[in-house]
Symmetry: C2
């Protein structure tokens, strides 16, 4: 199945906004085993849109169009879709009623120009948008099936997951269901994990489990894509592979699926009835920024202190911070970056201290890779140390990113 993503809108074409919808949609399709072969970006221009629809319909089996479903005159997707398909626009009474309800619930009257959003090409299949007024729709243009989606990120994301991916999998004739299992780790490089996990796919002999990676330094995501006839089949296939991945990656797995490192930390602190103070140098508040805004953080997070210079060691700083903030636990990260201009082999020495109940543990490391690389690495290493501490795991297992 050849899939094209066609992004529309002057704001995207002129670079006023970065096109994160494209990468999001493409990635989500990859995650269920579908591949995008082509991407097109055009502005809010009738001629260009028509030409883009024509080319895509000749090139692909499936075209996902993003943007151009709004109420204003420069939103042209429905109109050009109808023209390309050689049909007229028809008022969809159901969607009109849905929109009117949307406004009524907010105590407002629907502006007249929103009516345009319920005008769909004749013969379209509606794709529900439960969180906005832009109605998605699917339509054949030439030999390709087009799926039209709104430009608002949270709307296209939901429509993709709930409406489009199930239809694509059905069309692809994929037997049963597809499940993506994800493991998040810090400290092991992609090629290292690839070696570590050599042969795990073969634990399911029918080839229905596929291993993949997504590296976004400092974390690595390890993915298992599983096909099965139903949920039970998927679980049976996945169980031995999951167990083996957990065994081989061991303490380096910091979270799974939608969990995040910061979420795991917060949950660990909450479970143990602990409170936290953080002292950071050089990381410019990167740890605090990851944690302090989380729901529930106010009950756990006592204080974050960011300073540039610190002459003491992380152990003393952590002990003092816990006392001063009245927290059960404190995490201190003291970084000393080498002198000289920023460069690929610039190094930094990292001193991490975790104070808890009057005792303190520490971890020292050295990272090479330039200022931003050191900063990001130190944030992740410090947070992962705290995770390991809270989970009773060794905090000094050697990571691939260190030089000694």
């Amino acid at each position: 199945m050849r899939i094209e993503i066609l992004c529309t809108g002057d704001e995207v074409l002129t670079g006023k906004i970065v096109n994160s919808n494209f990468s999001y949609v493409s990635q989500k399709l990859e995650d269920v085993g579908l591949s995008v072969i082509w991407g097109t970006t055009v502005g809010d221009d009738r001629g260009m849109l028509l030409e883009a629809f024509r080319l895509a319909s000749a090139r692909a089996d499936i075209v996902i169009v993003n943007g151009g479903l709004g109420p204003t005159v420069d939103d042209l997707s429905q109109e050009i879709a109808a023209e390309a398909a050689g049909v007229g626009l028809v008022l969809n009474e159901d969607w009109l009623a849905t929109m009117e309800g949307f406004f009524t619930r907010r105590g407002r009257t629907m502006p007249p120009n929103n009516r345009k959003q319920a005008m769909l090409p004749a013969g379209s299949e509606v794709l529900d948008n439960p969180i906005g007024t832009a109605c998605g729709f699917a339509l054949d243009i030439g030999k390709a099936r087009f799926f039209f989606t709104p430009g608002v990120p949270r709307e296209v994301r939901r429509m993709l997951e709930e409406q489009i991916i199930p239809r694509l999998l059905a069309r692809a004739g994929t037997p049963g269901i597809i499940h993506l299992k994800r493991f998040h780790s810090y400290g092991l490089g992609e090629s290292h994990v690839d070696q570590l996990l050599d042969g795990v796919e073969a634990l399911v002999p029918d080839g229905s489990v596929k291993l993949g990676f997504r590296a976004h330094y400092p974390q690595l995501e390890t993915k298992l894509l599983v096909r099965g006839v139903d949920r039970d089949d998927v679980e049976i296939k996945l169980a031995p592979v999951m167990a083996e991945v957990r065994r081989r990656m061991g303490n380096f797995i910091l979270a799974e699926d939608d969990q995040t490192l910061e979420g795991v930390l917060l949950a660990g602190l909450q479970r143990a009835d602990k409170s936290l103070a953080v002292v950071e140098t050089y990381t410019a508040g990167g740890i605090v920024a990851r944690m302090a805004h989380l729901p529930g953080a106010e009950a756990v997070f006592r204080r974050g202190v960011v300073s540039r210079a610190e002459s003491r060691d992380a152990a003393s700083v952590a002990l003092e911070a816990a006392t001063q903030a009245g927290a059960t636990t404190a995490l201190a990260v003291i970084i000393s970056v080498d002198d000289g201009p920023d460069r690929m082999d610039l190094g930094g020495s990292i001193d991490i201290g975790i104070a808890d109940g009057g005792a303190v543990v520490t971890r020292q490391a050295r990272i090479l890779g330039g200022r931003e690389w050191i900063r990001l690495g130190a944030i992740e290493m410090a947070m992962d140390c705290l995770r390991r501490f809270l989970q009773g795991l060794p905090i000094d297992e050697r990571s691939d990113f260190e030089r000694r």
Copy 2:
């Protein structure tokens, strides 16, 4: 002049990385008055690349190709460019020597596979890359001029500015030079500034000054694009318009051109020989993250404290913070967000205090727009208050983002 941007690479096509090169290049071209009409994204696939080159050469006058110039086997741009142009690949001895020098200066020997990066389609014009081994080049394919650029962001950015834009402006027959003047503001919406600046373009009667905007909440960028025969001509044209923009936007202009709000604050503190402490609630260290990593910040920045809950007012907190941190000046931001689920009309009350030399000034405001909107708005408002304070301007001028 019809310009197309053609991005290549599996990592971009599959969404592993967000394509920020596309928006960067497009925006930079817009900034000099050139418009992109089409964007294409394909993977590292011979057939798709050839088809994309063929389509682009028929559609555009200028095609900027990004990516595929690396040393590995999946970097195909030179090879497919040669095929599309119907020419062979020729070793460029000059670039080979440049690359060898690049490695020698780093005390290394050039790996043999880098030689591939000096193989260019016959008849290519070299586009210098002073910071990498990927040689850029320009070549006619069909009726279009193609410019091939490396995928590494800092390399394509520099090549665009130094090599490509001057060539495009020369081809476009743009008389003389183009200059972009930028003003950054906080507190005025785009339509408000558009009204305020009504008629400023007409101060230069020959139509050579064009007004534009780029809104990235909470800041707004106001742009003046000026064409002139030479630098003097540009300066003469720009002077009265710049003066008028400054007069009408007044204290809301927080920085110009490449200046940033955080840079202006740091410079203002340095000039006045002041040191700073910051206390933030709810903004999760957003102010500290903007300032603490700047070069020179270590001499000014005393301490940043991030906490979730604060029962006192910003004035008391700021006074105490200055004393505790031993700083001449302290900025405190206390935010109280309304209860209930996140929604577009959720509000937050912001209390800002600036302590300086034992005295304190405050500013209160209320913003509606949901949690993230409030968080971003409060960071900007607090930093802008500090700028106004340091510059001796009123800190309580009403912004468009407030509700009273």
